[in-house]
C-alpha cells in the first residue's frame, strides 16, 4: 500500500502488511538465502504453505531487520541473534505487563 506524502513515497507497516519472500528480501536488502536460514532457525514463521504462497507481516520484517543489525554490529551468529530476539521480545512483553499494572 504505497502512498504519496508531500514529496515522499511512504508505506504503512501494520496488520495489513503482507509481503512475499521477494518483497521481504528487497525491503531488507537481504538475499533470500539469509531469510530462508532464518525460517530454518525458526526465527520467522511465514503464513502460507509453500514458498510461492509465503507471506510475511510487520513482525517478520522487524525480526529480519533487527537480526541483521545484531549480526552486523555485535558479530553474533544466527542462533545468537535468534536467542537475543526471543529474549528481547519476552522482556518487552514483561515490561508491558508491569506498566499495565503500575
Amino acid at each position: 500500500m504505497k502512498k504519496q506524502m508531500s514529496n515522499y513515497t511512504f508505506t504503512l507497516l501494520n496488520e495489513n502488511t503482507n509481503c512475499t519472500l521477494q518483497e521481504l528480501s528487497d525491503l531488507c536488502s537481504q538475499s533470500s538465502k539469509l531469510i530462508l536460514e532464518m525460517i530454518d532457525e525458526g526465527m520467522i514463521v511465514p503464513a502460507g504453505s509453500s514458498p510461492r504462497q509465503w507471506r510475511f507481516g510487520l513482525k517478520e520484517i522487524h525480526r529480519v531487520q533487527t537480526a541483521q543489525r545484531l549480526i552486523r554490529d555485535l558479530e553474533v551468529n544466527l542462533a545468537g541473534a535468534a536467542l537475543a530476539l526471543d529474549l528481547l521480545e519476552e522482556l518487552e512483553e514483561l515490561r508491558r505487563q508491569v506498566s499495565g499494572k503500575g
Partner: protein, 317 residues
Amino acid sequence: MEYKDYYQTLGIVRDAPQDEIKRAYRKLARKFHPDVNKAPDAEKKFKEVGEAYEVLSDPEKRAAYDKFGNNWQSGQDFQPPPDWDAGFEFSGTGSGGAKQADFSDFFSQLFGSGQFQQNRTGSFSNKGEDHHARIIITLTEAWHGTKKTFTLTKPEINDQGQLINRHHAITVTIPKGMTEGQKIRLQGQGMPGLGGAAHGDLYLEISLEKNPFFRADKRNIHLTLPVTPWEAALGATVECPTLNGTVKLNIPAGSQSDRKLRLKGRGLCSASHNGDQIVTLQIVIPEAKTDKEKEVYRNMAEVMPMDPRQSLKRITK
C-alpha cells in the same frame, strides 16, 4: 571542534593492549545497542563507542590519535596541528563509509580526509543503509491521526566525495489508528547508496506516550472507572471518558469491582481494523465519618449480611 577522549569512552587506560580494547568495546556495544537498550541516549552512546573503537582498534589510527598526547580533556576545544597525519600510512581497512557518517566532527576532521580518506569511487555499488527512528505520539494523536514535523540529519556525499551532514525538516502524516510498534517506511530517505545506488529507507516506529488514565494494549484502550457501591449494585448510566470525548456507559446491576465492560469501536481504529475501549470498574467505598453515615453501614450489615471470605475457608479446613 571538541576533543574526544576515546580511551575514556571505552573506559580503558591509554596503554591498554589491543585485546582489552576489543573486550571493552564488545561489552559496551552489547550494552548500548539501540535494539537492546531502549534508553533515549543509547543510540548516541553506541555510536560514540563505535567511533572510539574505529580509531583505537586500528593501530595506524590509534598511533596517529596518540600523537596528540594525553593533556586533552573530552569536550575541550581542539584544532589538529597542520600536517599532523603526515608519515602515517593508511591501509584502507575499517568500516564502510556509510557508518562513518554517524561519527563526530572530531572524527571526520581527523580521519575523514587526507591520508585516511577512503576511496569511494570504483565499480562497487550498494544500496544505502536504512535509518530507523522512534516517534512518540500521544494516545489522542494516535486515535485521531496527526501530522508531525521532524528534523532529520541526512548525510550526503558532496562533489569532493566527502560525507557531509545536511539537516532537513520533514512533515509526516500519521494516519489514524496506528499502534505501538507499527511503522511508516519513507522510501529513499535513508543513507545515500554507494556508487550511485539507491538511497536506503527511513523507518519511523510509532511509540505511544504514557497516559495517566488510558493504557493501550495493541488496538484496545484500557480505562479504570471508579463507581459508587449503589451504582454497581443497582445499575446506573454514568459518563465515561474516551479518547474521543465522553460517552454514556450502562453499568449493569450487581456489578463487582474489576468487572470489565467493552465499548465497541472506541479503541484505536484504523481504516481496516477496529479496537475497543475496555472499562474496568473500581468500586469506591464512601468513608463513614458521622454517626448517621456509620448507621447506614450497620443497617447494611443487618439487612444483607454476607461473608466475602467464604472461598478462603477451604484453605484452612
